[in-house]
């Protein structure tokens, strides 16, 4: 009830941007750490890769890719809004960026299996 003022596309775009940004920021140190493993201990890295091939982690990975693409497209939308003075395009842009990130996620899923 008290929250319905948030129920409009631009607000959802904001939420998704914020959540994805946070998600990415949380994932980033882990990601870089694991990459770092690849050089010091390649078996550990291989272990990690095979462990991460479980469906649950695949799903998580997909989510991250969706996050990344959502944050990317949402970020481009914000940059356009802030720097290009685009007035009434925002809703279209919200939809476009949402669609774009879903596509990326699906493509990733298709290829990953």
């Amino acid at each position: 009830m008290a929250r319905v003022h948030r129920n409009h596309p631009a607000y959802w775009a904001f939420v998704i941007h914020r959540l994805s940004g946070l998600g990415l920021a949380a994932f980033l140190p882990v990601h870089l750490y694991v990459l770092g493993l690849a050089l010091s201990d390649s078996t550990a890295f291989a272990d990690f890769i095979s462990w991460s091939n479980t469906p649950a982690l695949k799903a998580l990975e997909t989510l991250l890719v969706v996050f990344l693409s959502a944050h990317l497209s949402g970020g481009l939308r914000l940059l356009a809004l802030e720097f290009l003075d685009w007035r009434n395009w925002q809703k279209t842009l919200v939809a476009l960026s949402g669609g774009f990130s879903l596509c990326i996620g699906l493509v990733f899923l298709l290829y990953a299996y």
């Binding site: 009830m1 008290a2 929250r3 319905v4 003022h5 948030r6 409009h8 631009a10 607000y11 904001f14 914020r18 914000l78 809004l81 802030e82 720097f83 003075d85 007035r87 009434n88 925002q90």
Partner: protein, 240 residues
């Protein structure tokens, strides 16, 4: 068809009040303000609410109607009655005086803080400036000028809620019209007033302000303009 009664829950009291429910006869040409008036006149004389013009020019009658901030004198009941029920609360983000009445002082203080007032260098004894209505800067100013100060955008914006010092959409919308006013001479002080995280940079383009503004203004675009101009000022070393 409409039921012949609507059920209206209204916030009663100050910050720590509670909802009270009334049943009001449904009329054909009935606005939310009319509903509230009916309750005060016929059912509960102690109900408090604010209004003045009753036709959408003074911006006094804004409240939270079923969760969304709206001007109630121009909101027909049929547009909001959700299954014959309406819930009314005071505007968010402003201190409650009583029931549906809020204290708007901070809203206007911030308007002033954003230097939302004209500073000219001409006097009443000089001729008017010639400004073409087609001039792009004038058009930009005109696009945002018809703000009625209703506070709906301010009540809708979450950044206002999260950061008590955030100037908010209406104040910055006004600052932007002045930045584009060729006759104004306080551009730099104004950019200094709206720069930074409590000003334009605090806006995350949530656009609730645009979504809800009853005058169809676009504070997001105005604030984006301020971001660009204050950034130029920062690069030129004009901000402190």
């Amino acid at each position: 068809m409409q039921t012949d009664q609507i059920s209206v829950s209204i916030w009663r009291g100050g910050e720590d009040g509670k909802y009270q429910t009334y049943r009001v006869p449904r009329l054909e040409s009935q606005t939310v303000l009319d509903v509230v008036t009916y309750i005060q006149r016929e059912l509960d004389p102690s109900l408090s609410y604010r209004f003045a013009c009753r036709v959408g020019v003074c911006g006094s009658c804004a409240m939270t109607v079923n969760g969304k901030a709206r001007w109630t004198c121009r909101t027909h009941v049929s547009r909001v009655a959700d299954g014959g029920a309406i819930t009314l609360a005071p505007l968010r983000n402003l201190p409650v005086v009583k029931d549906l009445v809020v204290d708007m002082a901070v809203f206007f203080d911030k308007w002033e803080k954003a230097l939302g007032s004209f500073v000219g260098d001409q006097t009443r004894d000089q001729a008017l400036a010639a400004v073409s209505p087609a001039d792009p800067r004038r058009r930009e100013a005109s696009a945002g000028i018809e703000c009625i100060g209703c506070g709906i955008c301010y009540a809708t914006c979450d950044v206002v809620d999260w950061n008590k010092d955030y100037l908010g959409p209406a104040a910055m919308n006004r600052a932007w019209t002045l930045i584009n006013d060729a006759r104004d001479v306080a551009r730099l002080p104004r950019l200094q007033a709206i720069a930074g995280d409590n000003g334009c940079l605090g806006c995350h383009s949530q656009q609730g302000c645009v979504e809800r503004c009853p005058k169809s203004l676009n504070p997001t675009v105005a604030i984006a303009g301020l971001k660009r101009e204050s950034m130029k000022a920062a690069l030129k070393g004009e901000l402190s």
